[in-house]
């Protein structure tokens, strides 16, 4: 087997990986390689035909495919080497991986590796939805590839499970394929769509006639060959209703595409399902960085891209000074908080991407006071008027200066009225 060498190996050619590569090039680093298992780079946006991409990284609003094309063009122009149809299958050394492509199997050793493998939605089985397993069950990801990728109509009447941002993306995709969406189902007491996306929700409900059904869970899928109906159970009253449909789209409930991270024995953060990283996006393994949706499920693409850029700067530092933080403290959340990322603090110098930590809550909270403690010591408090589950919020980071890098773990709590 041939072992190739490069300075920086970027695994995953989505917005995070591509933005990192461009920034590294800009910082004067050569011999960067991007490995992408799909036939082309661009990542998930290639299949999101609606608008809303690129505001903060490219300072213009694009549709998903146009945004992906813009990155493809920039990468080509920067003459960064891209290995497409190439899947990284495992590790053969601390900074060495194995990959398969139509040209064969090879190993690649690098001075630094960036993991930017993205995330996926949990499908029906992972949510333990009982019932049958007929055709007609999708995630937003699989749906978009049928409708925008293969240009195929795949159903007549749909139910969307979820009422968050990505669920809207599913509704718009179904609308594009002329498949009416009867309902968007959510376990929460309300939809989880915040400004500036409320107009899109209005469009989906008022113009397209999809109804948001709250405090309801999917209790069964019915149908033999093809989905025939979905059984819904009210979490409030226990009432059970069967709704006829032939298509069910499970949206959201992200999980990091973390197989490589785990196969490499990186320390993981249970709450995000991604690898633990500090503000500079160092993982627990020297030379291995992580960025993008792998860190904590889906954010908008521009956020993932900016994280990629942030990682590029950390990688450039590492290539020069070979410094890797050894100790550090974990940063955990307490319920009803869901997760925080980055979730490890090594030094106060490692500020997180764009100077903010991201976090989410598990349930609606209003007038919330967030507190960050190290042991019993209060480091930071911040007020939020309203916190919506499945929406990310930004926590300031100037308190990092007060962290004792050898001290107790950091924890974040919230005092609020549950709405």
């Amino acid at each position: 087997m041939t072992t190739n060498h490069c300075t920086v190996l970027i695994i995953g050619g989505g917005p995070a990986g591509l933005a990192a590569a461009l920034e590294l090039k800009h910082l004067g680093i050569d011999n960067i390689k991007i490995v992408e298992r799909e036939a082309e780079i661009g990542g998930v946006p290639r299949f999101c035909h609606h608008t809303g991409f690129g505001l903060r990284d490219l300072r213009r609003v694009y549709s998903g495919p146009a945004y992906a094309r813009e990155y493809q063009a920039k990468i080509a122009k920067a003459k960064i080497e891209v290995l497409t149809s190439t899947t990284v299958t495992g590790w053969t050394g601390p900074r060495q991986v194995q990959m398969t492509s139509p040209t064969g199997i090879r190993e690649m050793a690098a001075q630094a590796i960036l993991l930017a493998t993205g995330c996926r939605e949990r499908p029906a089985a992972a949510r333990l939805v009982p019932g049958n397993r007929p055709a007609g069950i999708f995630t937003t990801g699989s749906l978009q590839r049928f409708i925008y990728g293969a240009e195929q109509s795949i159903g007549h009447r749909a139910i969307v499970v979820g009422a968050e941002l990505v669920s809207l993306s599913a509704v718009l995709t179904l609308h594009h394929a002329q498949i009416p969406v009867a309902q968007m189902i959510t376990e929460h007491p309300a939809h989880q769509i915040d400004w500036p996306f409320i107009p899109a929700l209005w469009y989906a409900t008022r113009r397209l006639g999809s109804k948001v059904t709250t405090q309801t869970e999917v209790s069964r899928i019915l149908g033999h060959k093809r989905v025939e109906a979905i059984e819904l159970t009210s979490l409030k009253t226990g009432e059970v209703e069967t709704v006829a449909c032939d298509t069910i789209v499970f949206t959201g409930k992200w999980i990091a595409e973390h197989e490589l991270a785990r196969l490499g024995d990186l320390q993981m953060d249970k709450a995000t399902s991604g690898p633990q990283v500090d503000g500079a996006l160092h993982t627990s393994t020297p030379g291995v960085f992580a960025a993008g949706n792998l860190l904590r499920g889906a954010e908008t693409a521009d956020h993932a891209a900016l994280e990629g850029r942030h990682a590029a700067h950390s990688i450039a530092h590492f290539l020069v000074n070979a410094f890797w933080p050894q100790s550090g403290v974990a940063f955990c959340v307490e319920a009803p908080l869901a997760w925080v990322a980055p979730n490890r603090v090594f030094t106060s110098l490692a500020t997180p991407p764009m100077g903010k930590f991201l976090f989410q809550v598990q349930q609606f909270c209003s007038r919330s006071q967030l507190h960050v403690y190290q042991g019993d010591r209060l480091l930071h408090s911040q007020t939020f008027a309203r916190l919506i589950p499945n929406c990310s919020y930004r926590l300031d980071s100037q308190w990092l200066a007060g962290v004792d890098g050898q001290g107790a773990p950091l924890r974040m709590t919230v005092d609020s009225r549950s709405a």
Binding site: M1, R37, S85, T87, T89, T100, S101, P102, T103, G104, I105, R120, E121, R122, P123, A124, A125, A126, L128, P130, G131, N132, R133, P134, A135, G136, F138, T139, G141, S142, R145, F146, G149, A150, Q152, S153, I154, G155, H156, S219, R220, L222, H224, K225, R226, D246, I255, E259, R262
Partner: protein, 469 residues
């Protein structure tokens, strides 16, 4: 008349049992037809087993089941090696958690030895924890059954049926037998709604519908009551938590809930056991899944922290009798192979050999063919090399290095092969059983559309057909 439609023998049902019988018959100069109601081989109960290659150590001594499992075990090792059936010889540990269970171990040991499974031995709790460090505390001891193994419940029936076809058996899919008549010359007419075949001998291997076929032939001696078993498949990242098949101490009703690695590198938890009236109800239930998670948590807590990749249910063709319902009627040229409840995958070769012996005794002329062609199935197991790992294969055909299903690491080349194999994959589920596509952790988030597009192209179908729209 030279009757193209007149066969020496028809086997009804292409599950693992019927396919094994057809394969055994293919060794002889016979015109044999294998009739299957469904659109594929092995798509009934056989695809929903726990995929354990049982030794028969815990079978009731003296039963036909015990005898045929034992015989099958002797034959299977050689067969699966030659046919390339994925297998891992993990061994099983039967774990006792209560004093009562612990005290029953010597009886179970004696039974294993009576059944001829002589390598079974008692195992101390200490050794159990050495071998299974993630097992929760509290095990008192156990039985070690080195011969129990995991193999592939998808590949096995396909291998049998493929070898049968390659050696001259006719396979008729989409042939649900609805009527059977026998004329004065002793020729049967076996009818489906759309066509019919004629034959001299009949083997009934219709699984859940074995009782109904038996009644069409005038018998009324057993009723199949489907016994549903629900299962949870955990992510491959859980595989490191389990080294052996972990069996509970069986009760008289069921073998109980077990934890087992799979040949695909996942971990299986199940099955439940629940009698049902409906022979098509392969739905999972909230109650069943919760029960399994509770049991799983009690056995290996870390297991249930891992992601769930799939959930499914299978229906065991249970009858009011404990033993297999195999009967020969030489005058009627009929053999009934019913009630192959919970061990049929393991016992299939033994059953097939026994059934063919019964047919010989019923005067079916058996003249061996000069040649019995072997088949080699594509490997889809983790223990042997897969195409994406083979530099030589990829050099020969780059499509073996072109991944289409990333989670399961299936290449375009394998999908194309499966679409053009002797029993081609005509549905996404059939393709899944042949290649593993779409059965991984993302369940199609990445590759559902790509796989459907490729299969549609290769089979001349539309995507709507593949999605049953």
């Amino acid at each position: 008349m030279d009757d193209q439609n007149l066969y020496d023998i028809a086997v009804i049902g292409a599950g693992v049992v019927g396919a094994a019988i057809a394969r055994e018959l293919a060794k002889y100069e016979l015109r044999c037809v294998l009739l299957e109601a469904g659109h594929d081989v092995g798509a009934g109960t056989s695809k929903a087993s726990t995929s354990i290659w049982h030794t028969g150590f815990d079978a009731t001594p003296g039963t036909l089941e015990a005898r045929l499992m034992r015989r099958s075990y002797e034959l299977m090792g050689d067969y699966i090696a030659k046919a390339g059936i994925p297998v891992e010889r993990t061994g099983a540990i039967l774990v006792a958690w209560t004093e009562e269970q612990h005290q029953s171990l010597p009886t179970l040991l004696a039974r294993a030895h009576t059944n001829g499974v002589t390598d079974v031995r008692l195992m101390s709790a200490e050794e159990i924890y050495q071998r299974e460090p993630y097992l929760n505390q509290g095990a008192l001891g156990g039985l070690y059954v080195p011969g129990e193994a995991i193999f592939c419940t998808f590949t096995l029936p396909l291998a049998y049926a493929t070898q049968a076809i390659v050696n001259g058996v006719t396979l008729k899919l989409n042939f649900p037998v609805r009527q059977i008549q026998r004329d004065l010359d002793g020729v049967y007419t076996v009818q489906s709604p759309e066509s019919s075949v004629r034959c001299r001998y009949i083997v009934n291997a219709a699984g859940l519908y074995g009782d109904e076929i038996d009644r069409l032939l005038g018998y009324n001696r057993f009723t199949v009551t489907p016994r549903r078993g629900e299962l949870i498949v955990f992510d491959k990242l859980a595989r490191r938590l389990v080294n052996h098949i972990l069996l509970p101490v069986p009760t008289s009703i069921t073998k109980g809930v077990l934890i087992s690695p799979t040949v695909f590198g996942n971990v299986l938890l199940g099955p439940t056991a629940e009698d049902l009236p409906d022979k098509t109800d392969t739905a999972t239930t909230a109650a069943g899944l919760h029960m399994l998670l509770d049991k799983g948590k009690a056995l290996i807590t870390q297991l249930v922290d891992e992601e769930v990749t799939a959930i499914y249910a299978g229906l065991r063709p249970a009858t009011e009798h404990k033993d297999y319902q195999i009967f020969a009627h030489p005058a009627e040229c009929y053999v009934c192979v019913g009630g192959i409840r919970s061990t049929g995958v393991s016992a299939s070769l033994g059953i097939a050999e026994y059934v063919v012996a019964l047919l010989a005794a019923a005067q079916l002329p058996l003249n061996p063919k000069p040649e019995f062609k072997p088949v080699q199935m594509p490997n889809i197991g983790e223990a042997a090399q897969r195409p994406y790992q083979s530099a030589a294969l990829i050099a020969e055909n780059p499509d073996y290095g072109r991944m289409i299903c990333f989670c399961e690491r299936v290449s375009v080349g394998e999908v194309i092969d499966a679409a053009h194999s002797p029993i081609p994959a005509d549905t996404l589920d059939g393709l899944r059983r042949r290649t593993r596509v779409l059965q991984g952790r993302c369940q199609g988030f990445n590759c559902h559309a790509a796989v459907a597009t490729l299969l549609a192209r290769e089979r001349g179908q539309t995507i709507q057909q593949l999605l049953s729209l």
